[in-house]
Symmetry: C2
Subunit: 153 residues, 2 copies
C-alpha cells in the first residue's frame, strides 16, 4: 500500500501546473491506489472505472495514464506484447525493478529485495565494461512458476 501521505502528494500534484483535477483523474488514481502492487492493463483500469462511475471513456483512461506516466506516478511494464500493464511507482524503491511473471496464474511479482538489486547492478557494471554500453534504463522480466502454482503441480 502506498503511504497515504504519498497518495495525497500525488493527488495534489495533478491539479498543478495548469492541470485540472477532474473526477475521472481521481477515479483512476483511486483504482491505482486500491490495486497497488498489481499490474493492471488499461482494460482492467477502464473496467474498474466504469464500476465507480459510468461517465468515463476509454480514451480518457489512455490520456490519464499517459499523463500519470509523464508525471512519474505510473510505470509501464510490458508483461505480454499484446497489451501494456501499469504499476504505481514507489518513490523509495528502485524504479524499473525486475518482475517475475507466473505463466500459470499470470501473477506478477516485483523484485525489490536489496541484495538481488545489488547483484543486478553488478551485472550492469560488467556489461558497461565488456560492451562499452552506457545503461540508462533496465527492463527485466522472468517467466516461470510462482510458489503456489509450483506446489499445485
Amino acid at each position: 500500500m502506498l503511504p497515504v501521505t504519498t497518495q495525497q502528494k500525488v493527488i495534489r500534484l495533478l491539479g498543478q501546473n495548469g492541470h485540472r483535477l477532474t473526477s475521472q483523474k481521481q477515479t483512476v488514481l483511486k483504482i491505482l491506489f486500491e490495486h497497488d502492487r498489481s499490474h493492471l492493463t488499461v482494460e482492467e483500469i477502464y473496467g474498474y472505472a466504469k464500476e465507480e462511475s459510468s461517465r468515463v471513456s476509454i480514451a480518457t483512461i489512455y490520456k490519464t495514464i499517459s499523463f500519470l506516466e509523464q508525471e512519474n506516478v505510473l510505470h509501464k511494464i510490458r508483461i505480454d506484447n499484446k497489451r501494456n500493464c501499469y504499476e504505481l511507482i514507489h518513490p523509495n524503491e528502485p524504479e524499473g525493478h525486475p518482475h517475475c511473471i507466473c505463466t500459470k496464474c499470470c501473477k506478477t511479482i516485483g523484485i525489490v529485495d536489496e541484495s538481488v538489486i545489488r547483484m543486478l547492478s553488478v551485472c550492469e557494471q560488467a556489461i558497461k565494461v565488456h560492451y562499452h554500453f552506457q545503461i540508462n534504463l533496465q527492463d527485466i522480466l522472468y517467466y516461470g512458476l510462482c510458489e503456489e502454482c509450483r506446489k499445485k503441480s
Copy 2:
C-alpha cells in the same frame, strides 16, 4: 554468422514433418541468415523479401515467422512495445540472452559474454531463493547509449 552446416540443417528441417519447403520460406531464411545478429522487424523482413522476389505477402511473412518460432529457429524479442523483433537462435549460445538497445541509433547488441551470463544466473538463483519463484525464461533489456553514440554526444 550462423555456421553453414547449421543453416543447412535448418533448411532441411523445414521440409520435414509434412511441411513444404517453399520459395517464400527459403527467401525468409536467406534474409535471416544474411542478417544474423541483427534484430529484424516483420516489416523489415517483408521489405527485404520483396527485393528478393515480388511474390511475397505480409501474411506469409507472419505465418513463416510463427512457424520458425515454433521450430526453435527464431526468437522473438520485444524491443519496443509497438512491433516485434526477431533474431536467429544460435544453438550453442544461451537462449534468450539479454540485449542492449541504444536509444539514439536503435542498434541492439546481444549480451552473450560468458562472465556476464554467469553473473546473471547468480541473480536468478538469488531470486529463486528469496521469492520462491521458479524461473523458466528470462527477458532482459537494457536501454542506453552505445559506444559510438556516447562518443558523438
